[in-house]
């Protein structure tokens, strides 16, 4: 069976598709966090992880009948706000770091031992 015969491709767009997308986004973000060295890129990967979870929250709120939809949607709104706050704190720290070390490359910032 080749890939275009997979049943998922012929089913109407639903929860499984969104969950696969979310899982892929999360893994992509995790890979970025572990593999990248530039602090801003790591921050972008972090955002991917948070948004993957957000996508899942909204999808569950929409597709799972037993789930209370408001809780998931409100949760995702809170996550968006927290992610924005986290980004602003992170960028401030990167700026400070650049003033001190003239780089935001994590491998070159090594004044702490170990």
């Amino acid at each position: 069976m080749s890939w275009f015969q997979l049943p998922l491709l012929h089913a109407p767009l639903g929860l499984p598709h969104v969950l696969i997308l979310a899982a892929a986004l999360f893994c992509l973000g995790l890979y970025g966090v572990l593999a990248l060295r530039h602090a801003v890129r790591v921050l972008m990967s972090l955002e991917l992880m948070l948004n993957a979870a957000n996508l899942m929250l909204v999808a569950f709120a929409n597709y799972v009948p037993s789930a209370s939809p408001l809780r998931g949607q409100v949760f995702s709104l809170f996550v968006i706000a927290v992610a924005a706050a986290e980004t602003s704190v992170a960028l401030a720290i990167f700026l400070l770091l650049y003033k001190q070390h003239q780089t935001v490359d994590m491998e070159k910032v090594d004044s702490l031992q170990g």
Binding site: R71, E86, I93, L96
Partner: protein, 487 residues
Amino acid sequence: MTIDPSLLLPEILVTALALAVLIWDWIVQDKRLLGRIALFGLVLVSGAIGGQLLAGGGIGTTLAGMFVGDRLGLILRLAITGSAALVVALSLDIVCSRPHAGEFYALLLMAVLGAMFAVSAGDLVQVFLSIELLSLSSYALAGWFKTDRRSSEAALKYLLFGGTSSGFFLFGAALLYGITGSTNLQDIARALAHLDPRMGPMALLAGLLALAGLSYKVAAVPFHGWCPDVYEGAPVPVAAFLSVGSKIAGFAVLIRLLTGALPYLAGDWLVVVAILSVASMTFGNLAALGQTNVKRMLGYSSIAQAGYLLLGLVAAANLGTKGLGLAAIVFYLIGYAFMNLGAFAVVALFAHLTGKEEIRDYAGLGRRNPVMALFMLVCMLSLAGLPPLVGFWGKFYLFSAVVQYALASAQPAYIWLAVVGVMNSVVSMYYYMKVPKAMYLEKSDGAPLAASGALAAVAFVGAVAALALFVFPQPVWDLAMSAVRGF
């Protein structure tokens, strides 16, 4: 939705205090009073919580089940505000003379607020929000020495580790919401009780992701990477607060999540928590052996202490020994707050007066300031778990809870956890004793060091409490047992 302000009274007071500090910083030119205002306010809040505890108030849920007021929450919130007051007293000399003291105290109070909300969380949304409030304030605090290269590097590492872990936690929380249809911890437990068995592995994955996100907060292996770097790079008062406040908040959330929301997965998370515990104890203690910097050594020691504390959660997996395990955690957290803050007070004094943090620099402190050296000796012995001090009872309760668990659930293999714990305590003796050895046995020709009143008071409180809680452990143990009744 009705809001019961009496349950939220301590949080309202801390919020008002944080705003008051910010406004004072903005209006008044004299910055020396800022720290004293924060200290006075925190003592006041601690008194309010203590009053609620004595009067039996502050019990119930509010904000549509988000906020749970119970005795566990009250006692741990008291521990957080009390240790925050000690941290503020410890910071007076270091912080008030520098620019941006107002921001420091406002951020510290926000972090305290986050920790307090985390302790009383009854809903995944509130767990996430309060942990983020605590974390975001801590990132900024870690980088507060703006001209110090190490401080900004500590902030960077803390931020990246913390952000990744909150991603893990959030993904787990979203999965739990999808599986159970709710974010309320009690509703989650109820839904998991009659879960479709095919969803079992998915629920376990969700629980483990959430556990991973929280083990960063308590600095357990393998999410410990930030801990030594942040302790070394961050200002001493910040490291002191992180070692105590963050740990209390993290363990409170772990207790509420694992035993409150996921008791039906206990057979599964039990194994993972046991592995995390052994790994944290062993790694923390072995890595601390070779350290030369006191703050970094205390960072590795904090990882090892998280390992001991996790033993209490192992015991909580069985209904029969749940109370013992959780009470042992509460007791140890209270004792740990005193002995660790006492040690940090001496580190803060020494770093403030001499600007040095290496263990070999402590040579001759026994002659240069015999009183502070004595306090340091007491705190180090207590952290190592030696008998005339509270660390001994703390470890005794934790290890005996694990042994009781092994006997009650007929799984003798878990007795080995207590054996590993005892062996680790012996290993830890070596590095805790390095500081007293330098202080008393090595000579130096340094001039005498005079301790300021506030720092000496914090060290005094830490050391005396470590001694007093050994002689009279029963009241605190009864308090801890009453806190976990009903879990």
